[in-house]
Amino acid sequence: MNPHVILRVVAKMLIPLIALFAFYVQFHGDFGPGGGFQAGVIFASSIILYALIFGMAAAKKAMPPSWVRIGMSLGVLLYGGTGVATWLLGGNFLDYTRFAPESTHAAGQHWGIFSVELGVLCTVACAMLAIFYAFGSRVQDLSDEDW
């Protein structure tokens, strides 16, 4: 029997909750404390927890390292792309008002902030995972004495 059965069971319950909380922090960032940075870190920590409990190989199956590399870049692209889109719409770099210039309640700003924060989430989560994978993969396995 696996000695960490309690940890496994509890982690199985917690990991989806942590990931969900990350999205709460992400999308609630406009109203309360939070935003892309924090959400990205929390999301990464949910996968790191998975890797700690179920092993690196399982985590890499769930979130392949190649995705991590792509996700890291896509986040910055999304952020920069928002700026490029505002350029194409005729504004300055990152001038979100151009997304909805007629709006009376700054909808353009809301769209811009939304997309930008999503980019931050993507980059932060993937960069954290990249660092974790890089360090974690060099140790063959976390043995019990390492705890």
Partner: protein, 227 residues
């Protein structure tokens, strides 16, 4: 002088921070140091809450106490469990720098605006303007998000690039699957230099002491086009 409980709370937190910091410096066991750094982050997160900087506190708790502890542990597992003692002579220089910096900061205290002064420049000028303008121009309840993502969105773009670069740097130096570079650079022509590098073994011993022995792949023969 009015003594509020918050003042005592702040003093207590600061005292704890100092104690933890000194403990980190004095410790030899890397494991304990990493754990204490997590404690330090958590304490500073609490302190940030008491300073009404909830967003900062949130970040500190998530990054400092959460992920970075795990990452530091992962890094620690690759090296040693203990720090070698440092000679007192080598400590003097950094100590001097720290003391001078600290004294310099105390020197400026006299001319700093009082804590929480509503009329201080940092609170009255652009800070107040942000609070006003967010209501008028962005319609978001959280001013911090408005400043971070819109007014100073370009800074955040830069910070995102910093994080991207950190990930890319790790990818370059370690590789995502932990296969650090065994590849050796060779000049394109004939090597006529007598002493190119000191014996490899020598440096590696000083640099890293992997506790967990890993089977290392032999360096692959390089395939290179003639140029």
């Amino acid at each position: 002088m009015h003594l509020s409980p918050v003042l005592f709370l702040n003093i207590g937190l600061m005292a704890m921070l100092i104690v933890v910091a000194i403990a980190v410096v004095r410790m030899r066991s890397l494991f304990a140091i990493v754990m204490l750094q997590g404690v330090y982050s958590l304490l500073s997160a609490v302190w940030f809450v008491s300073l009404d900087a909830v967003d900062v506190a949130f970040t500190e708790a998530a990054v400092g106490a959460g992920v970075s502890t795990v990452l530091m542990l992962g890094a620690m597992l690759l090296t040693d469990r203990d720090v070698k003692p440092i000679a007192t002579k080598q400590k003097l220089g950094p100590l001097l720098v720290v003391i001078v910096t600290g004294v310099a900061m105390f020197y400026a205290i006299g001319d700093m605006p009082a804590y929480g002064d509503g009329m201080s420049p940092a609170n009255a000028y652009i800070g107040a303007e942000y609070i006003e303008a967010t209501k008028r121009e962005i319609f978001l309840p959280n001013v911090v998000t408005a400043v971070l993502a819109s007014y100073r969105g370009y800074d955040t773009f830069g910070e995102t690039v910093v994080i991207f670069m950190a990930g890319l740097g790790v990818l370059l130096l370690l590789g995502l699957n932990g296969n650090a570079g065994q590849w050796r650079a060779k000049p394109n022509g004939r090597n006529i230099a007598k002493n190119v590098t000191p014996p490899r073994k020598h440096i590696e011993e000083a640099e890293e002491k992997p506790k967990v022995k890993k089977t290392r792949k032999a360096a692959k023969p390089r395939v290179r086009k003639k140029s």
